[in-house]
Symmetry: C2
Subunit: 145 residues, 2 copies
């Protein structure tokens, strides 16, 4: 059951680390984040470039450069990250994948599937990085091993 791609999982984890471990300086380097959450620096760089292109991050090159949130953490919702990394058609996928759906009658699992998708959408839309970060900082939950 792959609700999120590796790319999205890494992206969310990396952003949560950023928000939960503020560096003091304006920008945080990708290398440091990759080291801390233990994933490939180059892969994370690729993910962050996409998030920068989509307006979720700012970036700045050179020494003491790095990346920073383009908006307050309270205004970045999980759904924004997912849309940026998985595409805006993220919720258009189907459980059975009938050809030409949306036009004719629904398939036998549509009602159920619709509800599941709705639940996920509501939750991803209502949860901000700030919200999750607070849980991490208070050590209510964990992000690292």
């Amino acid at each position: 059951m792959k609700v999120l791609s590796q790319t999205s999982k890494y992206g969310i984890r990396a952003l949560l680390y950023m928000v939960s471990h503020p560096s003091g300086s304006e920008y945080m380097s990708i290398g440091e984040i990759a080291r801390e959450i233990d994933l490939s620096f180059h892969f994370l760089t690729k993910i962050f470039r996409e998030l920068t292109a989509k307006g979720i991050l700012y970036s700045y090159r050179g020494p003491s450069g790095g990346i920073a949130l383009a908006k307050p953490a309270s205004e970045i919702m999980l759904v924004d990250i997912v849309f940026a990394l998985e595409g805006k058609d993220y919720f258009d996928q189907c459980l059975l994948g009938l050809p030409g759906c949306g036009h004719a009658k629904p398939c036998p699992v549509h009602d159920f599937w619709k509800d599941v998708k709705h639940d996920i959408r509501v939750h991803l839309s209502g949860t901000s990085l700030q919200h999750l970060s607070e849980k991490i900082v208070s050590e209510e939950v964990r992000l690292l091993l």
Copy 2:
């Protein structure tokens, strides 16, 4: 959002077609099913071999051979098909994919994710091929284009 692999989607659609379009004879040929639901005969054959190996189908070779349900349609639940085709660890996947999870504290989205997985599990466990087939036969919903 890929909740089911193509393999599972095809498998479920094919089984639903079988149940909703009984052939009169004991076995139904894979070729006919593949033609009716418009997918590759060879791919469907591979899927059905797996379902046969997992005890969900019987098979019989030769002319007038084919496949048949190993149990009444009312006793084959969606979850059985998913477990057979996606593996028994289907519900063990994580939203964030933290390393070494299940041991230490949960991640910040665990509560939500647990609920979503539970909903899906309950539904897949409670829905039989018979149940869905009735909806199809009564033309309440569609399976084909």
